[in-house]
Amino acid sequence: MQMTDQDIRIFITMARRYFEALEPKPTLVIEPPFLRDELGPLLEYTGIIPVSGRCQGAVCFTANGGMLETILALLKDKRRDDAAKRDLVGEIANTLSGNAREEFGSDFRISVPNVIVGPRLSADLRTGGRNYAIPLNWRSETAYLLVSLK
């Protein structure tokens, strides 16, 4: 069975909640999700969470270094290096997918994040599910929450 629009709304809620926790007056604008033939686009840093159990596939958060540096600053983390940005993008992907268990339940099993560095048009992941891209506009930058589950 494929993901429904209702399922995708759950991920939108989790993304909104993450950015609301970062700053008192969040400026996140979430554009309507769109479907792609492949999972993407990938920006400079991508955290990928493999999912198993009731759903099979992956949830990814992808962003450019500039946005991740802004988030590090809001978290009062002084580091701006590659390692910190890799760590952060994986942790955001982990938080968004882990939070989704509130709706999907404990059989929505997530693994530790894999991180890809470097922009590309798509991830070489064959999940068999529909590939949703959810644009997250925040402080003049765009990140994507990518969901491919079945």
Binding site: L72, D87, G90, E91, G98, N99, R101, F108, I110
Partner: protein, 119 residues
Amino acid sequence: MKLLIVDDSSVVRLAIERDLENGHIAEVDQAADGEEAVRLYREKLHDVITLDITMPRMDGLTCLENLLKINPEAKILIISALRDRSTALIALKRGARGFLCKPINPEELREAFELLLTD
């Protein structure tokens, strides 16, 4: 007071350390996975432990059991992205003293920490 922070994300470990900075804490150790946490805890028997669940090598729920085998009175606060009720219940049933969900709210974290100290 000795604090052990266990999370595979260095961003989270540093954020927890900063959020809990106060006069109570004399020493902070960090571990990036459950195995490292068990080794450090056996050495130092920290007063409070914050523990993530989804980690490589040894997950947080297995780590929780191992820490409690070393010291059944260990004060362990779970801080996890897993927001489902059943995971929280399992952790509390196995002996965790509290459960917080990520993203971390610093005020909630400090409150939970103070509760643990007075427990």
